[in-house]
């Protein structure tokens, strides 16, 4: 196992002598920043075509209701109202919304842009109106006469699986179980039977939302003569938006151009087509005028996707030395009223064993419908959920065996010698030294000192605890072939086009939109590095399907993994041709010619050089080319990584808890993380810190709450849903190792989601460590003083729930998706 602290090492297989202009591994200033800091970004709501009209959407106020009658005549008659769409129009003119990441085995639900006979969640669109201003459009909503017949609802994921629960989609399913799947290997039941110790528990993960600061939005424009629909939208996946819109609107893909220039955060929420996108396009087509919809925050809370909510029954079997024999995870995950654009998280199954070497285990997932807003992808997508469960159980196991929890973890971790290592569901961990991260975290918080000191309260009565959470993070995707088997309608590859221009620059065209992940900067770094030209000479044009090669988009921490390979290959092609042209003009052997900054020159005689601009002009005009070369200087390349890569790390939290009230402070939080080769250290650190902030939010303060009586979302506003502010977050100390991944270009691993994974488990373990003498075990998120106080008072909830009995053996669809 090579461990590399130096990101500039030869992970890409080139020799040091080739490297004239190394920018990979350096903190270049971001290409994105100037326009964003001047307020000159181009977010969807900033797009303002002439003659634009505004759309507003009437939404079902009930969690479950039959739509008996829609009378839009008074609304349509209001001065300034131009167009109204009702459920019948949608049924006639569109196909149901499609899902990018269907759950295997799940039927296609008849999900239309406007609710047809029955709405299954509060906030589902029912009628849409276009008018001369947003004010007028919203006024018109007041004039709609919609008769609803409220139906019985269910908002609890376990209650929804009960035989007497109201069924959401009776025409398709006779229960609320949308799909179930399982996978595993070995003989876990036998291991449990022979184990010295079994720890088990039910873990509840809160419903949260990604909450990007820019809400969703769309500006649609139709030119009937040209049959051209231009759609500006706030999306992570413009090419997939184009595909889905074309299908839903019964257009040809070439009729649609999707553009997402600047995106104000996505985090997985902005994947795929939502009802409002389809509605705005339909209005625009009908009116032959541009139509704009900007989601307001109240709508966002009820109609953009939520995330995470699930209940996990976890079990771990071990022998008396702490060696883990088997692990199982049977869980129900809430998908809300419909399958969302990206379906339900499956990574809870893929990495259910975390960094631990377990051969006998299984996982079983039940994707469950409830009368709530659909659940979709969110940073981490299934991984924070299981980390909370298995890391809480690791601490319980340590206590049961009277072992040091750090030693217990170390003893069971997959080691560098085991790599590549296949887990019980077939995921292949590529490389890494997991134990080293754990030890670094333990040292950083002086774990040994803490153990020795015991649990003496401080002068103010507070008890100090330290907790750990070790994790792996699946990043990127396995091959497209594999995705195909699982029903995904996208590939695992990325594609880019590079084009030289007569000013001496290189234009990079990518369908990956700019949503904060710094791809413009990182892409330019890779191109400049591979090509040999200046970073400043590379310009990235992002997020326009009219300009970029057909690619997938930005999610699953895959941008850098997949795009880096395409960028490298395209840059190599472009550089090779540049050198051939220059070699011919300089009358030198091609091998002797190199690109260096703004010139091409003979390696051994720098006085023999041509400006790059001149070489590019030669190619573009075709005048003065070597006889055998075609004119033009452009390259498109596609790249698919051979497998997913796994980032990893350990977090350590130190908390001080008041054992009377449950109030606590996070005094220290250390994250030791490995994202493989670092392309830009500043960006990597920024991604990790940002992920942590969202992780702390989900662990400590954020929770979407539904009133079981009314089925209403009770805290659907920024005033009631507590996103951490600058004053709320603990100070975070970051440490890195940098083991290159053998399965990705340059050895990079994704870094976008790591921070979201360990905060819940690390903080909960720290609180339980502090309160060990009180017998407190936390098993639900978020971790609030109230929850701790209830646990201290022995008032933990969770009793009386139905068991999630494993049915692994009789499920037809063995195998989890990746």
């Amino acid at each position: 196992m090579t461990t590399l602290e130096d990101p500039a090492t030869e992970a890409d297989g080139r020799t040091a002598g080739d490297r004239r202009n190394r920018v990979i591994g350096t903190s270049q200033l971001r290409k994105e920043d100037d326009r964003l800091l001047r307020g000159d970004g181009r977010f969807t709501d900033d797009v303002d075509p002439a003659r634009v009209l505004y759309m507003a959407v009437a939404r079902c106020p009930y969690p479950h209701a039959r739509i008996v009658r829609v009378d839009a005549s008074a609304a349509a008659a209001l001065d300034g109202v131009e167009h109204v769409l009702t459920p019948a129009d949608i049924r006639r003119d569109t196909e149901p919304l499609t899902v990018l990441r269907p759950v295997p085995g799940a039927p296609q639900l008849p999900y239309y842009a406007l609710a047809q006979d029955v709405a299954t969640h509060e906030g589902q669109p029912v009628v849409s109106v276009v008018a001369s201003s947003r004010h007028v459009a919203e006024d018109a909503l007041e004039l709609l006469d919609i008769t609803y017949e409220p139906l019985p609802h269910v908002v609890d994921v376990l209650a929804a699986l009960e035989p007497d629960a109201p069924v959401l989609h009776p025409s398709v399913l006779d229960s609320n179980l949308l799909a179930a799947n399982s996978d595993g290997s070995g003989d876990p039941d036998a291991r449990f039977a022979e184990a010295d110790v079994v720890v088990e528990g039910r873990f509840r993960i809160n419903r949260v939302t990604a909450l990007p600061m820019e809400t969703r939005g769309v500006v649609a424009e139709w030119r009937p003569g040209a049959r051209e629909l231009t759609v500006h939208c706030s999306s992570q996946v413009p090419h997939l938006i184009r595909k889905q819109l074309a299908e839903t609107l019964r257009l040809h893909e070439s009729d649609v151009r999707a553009v997402a220039s600047d995106v104000g955060g996505g985090f997985g929420l902005k994947l795929g087509v939502f009802p409002e996108d389809v509605l705005a396009c339909l209005h625009a087509i009908a009116l032959r005028r541009p139509v704009k919809w900007s989601e307001d925050r109240a709508e966002h809370f009820r109609s953009s996707t939520h995330a995470r909510e699930s209940v996990h029954d976890y079990r771990i079997a071990a022998d008396s030395t702490g060696r883990i024999l088997a692990m199982t995870n049977v869980y129900a995950t809430d998908i809300g009223g419909w399958n969302s654009p990206f379906g339900s998280a499956q990574l809870s199954s893929v990495v259910f064993n975390g960094p631990y070497k377990i051969s006998d285990g299984y996982t079983e997932r039940r994707v469950t419908l409830t009368n709530k807003t659909p659940v979709g992808a969110y940073r981490g997508y299934g991984q924070p959920e299981v980390n909370f469960a298995y890391e809480r159980l690791m601490d319980q196991l340590a206590r049961r065996l009277d072992l040091d929890p750090v030693e217990l973890r170390a003893r069971n971790m997959v080691t560098p010698r085991d790599m590549p290592w296949k887990n019980p569901v077939g995921a292949v961990y590529d490389s890494g030294d997991y134990e080293r991260c754990l030890r670094m975290a333990a040292d950083a918080v002086d774990w040994a000192g803490h153990r020795a000191a015991g649990r003496t309260p401080r002068a103010d009565g507070r008890l100090v605890g330290i907790g750990f959470a070790s994790f792996v993070e699946r990043t990127g995707y396995a091959s497209s072939r594999f995705l195909a088997k699982r029903g995904s309608v996208f590939g695992a590859h990325e594609s880019v086009t590079l084009r030289a221009n007569r000013s001496g620059g290189i234009d990079v065209y990518t369908g990956v939109s700019t949503m904060g992940q710094s791809s413009e900067t990182a892409f330019a770094q890779v191109v400049a590095d591979v090509f040999g030209t200046d970073y400043d000479a590379v310009r990235v044009h992002a997020g326009d399907t009219g300009a970029s090669p057909l690619n997938t988009g930005a999610f699953a921490s895959r941008t850098m993994i997949a795009a880096a390979g395409a960028l490298r290959s395209a840059a190599e092609q472009l550089a090779a041709k540049t050198r051939r042209i220059a070699a011919w003009q300089l009358e030198a052997p091609v091998d002797e010619v190199e690109v260096a900054g703004s010139v091409v020159r003979v390696r051994t005689d720098h006085s023999r050089a041509l400006p790059l601009a001149a070489v590019y002009t030669t190619a573009i005009t075709g005048q003065g080319m070597p006889p055998e070369e075609e004119p033009g200087l452009e390259a498109t390349a596609h790249f698919e990584p051979s497998d997913a890569a796994y980032s990893f790390g350990t977090a350590a939290a130190q908390v001080a808890v008041d054992p009377l009230t449950g109030e606590f402070d996070i005094e220290r939080f250390v994250l030791v993380h490995d994202g493989g080769t670092v392309v830009n250290p500043t960006i990597v650190e920024g991604q990790v810190r940002g992920g942590l902030a969202q992780g702390f939010g989900a662990a400590l303060t954020e929770e979407l709450r539904y009133d079981p009586e009314t089925g209403q979302l009770v805290n659907g506003s920024m005033v009631d849903y507590f996103v951490p502010t600058a004053a709320d977050l603990p100070r975070v100390e970051l440490l890195h190792t940098a083991v290159p991944s053998p399965v990705t270009p340059f050895g990079v691993r994704g870094v976008g989601e790591a921070g979201t994974i360990p905060p819940g488990a690390a903080v909960a373990n720290a609180v339980c460590d502090a309160l060990a003498d009180h017998g407190v075990e936390l098993s639900a998120l978020p971790i609030t003083p109230e929850a701790i106080w209830s646990a201290l008072a022995g008032r933990s909830s969770g009793g009386g729930d139905p068991e999630l009995t494993p049915t692994a053996k009789d499920l037809p669809d063995g195998g989890v998706e990746y």
């Binding site: 903190s27 200033l29 971001r30 994105e32 920043d33 100037d34 964003l36 800091l37 001047r38 307020g39 000159d40 970004g41 977010f43 709501d45 900033d46 303002d48 001065d79 300034g80 008018a131 001369s132 201003s133 004010h135 007028v136 990604a210 990007p212 600061m213 820019e214 600047d262 995106v263 104000g264 955060g265 900007s294 307001d296 925050r297 700019t514 949503m515 904060g516 992940q517 710094s518 500043t682 960006i683 650190e685 920024g686 991604q687 810190r689 940002g690 992920g691 902030a693 969202q694 506003s717 920024m718 005033v719 996103v723 502010t725 600058a726 004053a727 709320d728 977050l729 975070v732 921070g755």
Partner: protein, 183 residues
């Protein structure tokens, strides 16, 4: 200019100074300042994230104080002086605060940046020079979902440290163009 086309809107005459220019506009009574800046003046750097005063995306400076422009009506701007993020850069150059944001990687998607920049600028207008913890409190009215705030705090702290004079005595932009502009 884009104007609201509904003839039934009640319009109010308003004269205000925006980034040093006098603006005369007829605005609907119910129009808030953020929509006025964005839709009527094309100053789209002021963003909207909640329209209920909770996210800080729309923060601008009115008479020297940071204000959430979604909570103020455009007609209330009459006789006041407004500064938006578009006023910060000096010609083609970012100003020192923007430069600090860039160098400290204090933004990712950048949607929140105008809110933080205007909040920090307002602190300087008031002659404030807060320390790190105080900065955290002062900027807590602006949310960011990308950065985890650390770098934002560092950028603002650095700006105050490097520009002790400039920052604390930075005047409101003077009225440079007395010609009334139709908004």
């Amino acid at each position: 200019m884009t104007s609201v086309e509904n003839p039934s809107e009640v319009l109010v005459e308003t004269v205000t100074t925006v980034n040093g220019r006098v603006v005369t506009a007829s605005v609907p009574a119910r129009l808030h300042v953020a929509d006025f800046l964005r839709q009527h003046l094309g100053l789209t750097g002021t963003h909207l994230g909640c329209e209920q005063g909770a996210c800080g995306m729309c923060t601008v400076i009115v008479d020297g104080e940071a204000v959430k422009s979604c909570l103020m009506l455009a007609c209330q701007l009459d006789g006041r002086n407004v500064q938006t993020v578009e006023s910060l850069a000096e010609g083609d150059e970012l100003n020192a605060l923007q430069q600090a944001f860039k160098e400290e990687h204090a933004l990712q998607c950048g949607f929140c940046s105008p809110g933080f920049l205007m909040t920090a600028t307002a602190l300087a207008h008031q002659g404030r020079r807060p320390g790190r913890d105080e900065i955290r409190e002062e900027i807590a009215g602006v949310l960011c979902r990308c950065t985890g705030y650390d770098n934002v705090v560092t950028a603002i702290e650095r700006w105050f440290a490097e520009n002790p004079q400039g920052a604390s005595e930075d005047p409101l932009p003077a009225v440079t163009d007395p010609t009334a502009t139709q908004g």
